[in-house]
């Protein structure tokens, strides 16, 4: 099990292969269906985002609300395929690494490979376990979306598996 700090550097990305189980620490940004629609609109109209896509990692999640005293509620991954249409525009703006769950479309997979990016996955349905690895959470964009707002999370030893690497390997078809 390898440990990495976020954002992953170009050499980190080059060192990772499909099937590697990694523990990630650092800042990530959350985004799912509604936030992706708005993000692409924001990018099209050249709005300045409060974070740099080339300096972050996008995690597909919509958490449950935290109870008093908790940082975050359950926060496992949501299915990535629904975000496939947004991969190309986000990667054109510098995004390199996405975290979610499940197989993606051929188009999204090709875009990730073309941009020398990585697609990581987390076991679906382990939201309580993942919540223990999140040390801070704050809304940074689209607060009106509630659970779908973009949150900045500080994670420590966040458990992920490399699904698509820069060499064109796909963990789902290797099995």
């Amino acid at each position: 099990m390898k440990k990495y700090n976020l954002p992953l550097s170009t050499s980190d990305i080059q060192s990772l292969h499909a099937g590697d189980y990694v523990l990630l620490s650092g800042k990530i940004h959350t985004a799912r269906d509604a936030a992706h629609k708005l993000l692409v609109k924001s990018l099209e109209s050249n709005e300045v985002l409060p974070f740099d896509l080339s300096e972050t990692t996008i995690y597909y999640v919509g958490a449950t609300p935290p109870k008093p005293g908790q940082v975050i509620g359950a926060c496992g991954p949501t299915s990535s395929y629904r975000m496939d249409p947004f991969v190309e525009p986000l990667m054109n703006s510098g995004l390199k690494v996405m975290i979610g769950k499940g197989e993606r479309s051929d188009e999204a997979k090709a875009a990730i490979l073309r941009h020398n990016g990585l697609y990581l996955i987390v076991t679906g349905g382990i939201g309580a376990l993942v919540s223990q690895r999140v040390h801070s959470s704050k809304i940074v964009l689209y607060p009106e979306l509630g659970t779908e707002a973009i949150h900045e999370l500080e994670v420590v030893d966040f458990p992920a598996i490399v699904a698509y690497d820069i060499f064109g390997n796909d963990l789902y078809t290797q099995q």
Binding site: G102, T123, G125, L129, Y172
Partner: protein
Amino acid sequence: MNITREDVIREVKKIVVDAACNLDPEMVRFLQLAKSKETAPLAKTILSEIIQNQEIARNQGIPMCQDTGVSVFFVELGNQVRLDFDLVEAINEATRLGYKEGFLRKSIVAHPIDRVNTKDNTPAVIHIKLVMGDTLHITFAPKGAGSENLSRMKMMTPAEGIEDVIAFVKETILLAGGKACPPLIVGIGIGGNFELAPLIAKEAIFRPLTDEATHPINRELEVRLMKEINELPVGAMGLGGVTTCLAVKVNSYPCHIASFPVAVNLQCHAARHKEITLGGNKHEEI
């Protein structure tokens, strides 16, 4: 037998919160059994994470999965039960309070096109069946979208048979891959009509895990599919191994001479449901 609106709200709210954090012990036993039989290292790791996750959820009162679902209720209302209130309204009120007080995610939008969140997870999806007796029996299941989105329905033709049902189910599991969060519970409804087949498929998911279909054809389907699905190249989270499904349940209903509806409702490993019985001489929680 009188049951009050307050009784329904209080008891339903309890199972709404409870279901999200406390996985049924029988389901945990099935997961542990699957882990002990699994040979692929990555699948074994995934099953360990799933088992560890439900322990954290139970011990710390955190929902096991952030998708706390569409609130689905199956209600059996006894003919001797007297209700002087709107049962659907009361169940929705219990849902509203349960999702708020239990810190569950509100995942319902008022209309599928403009998608404005109702912010309280209502309205619930409520199925009411009239039965004989003096009790009100309510089953609650928060149904996540991950597995629901990959469920399928087909109007087959009477020329087709058991092999075609098996092929359709296996095709559904393959198309779902890792996206439906296997290991799955596979609920299958055959017969009825366009709306009934998916409904009995969903009811099948919530049969006890050890329950076996009484009709010999349904039982044959359950046994064969349990084996054949686990031979598919899917596995836990779609990453290989021999644990694609934990259970297969088949329900059937008579159908038209020209029809052969088949529905496959997928349930992810976060197979959450709780039941409550009100009235009779007891308030019993299962």
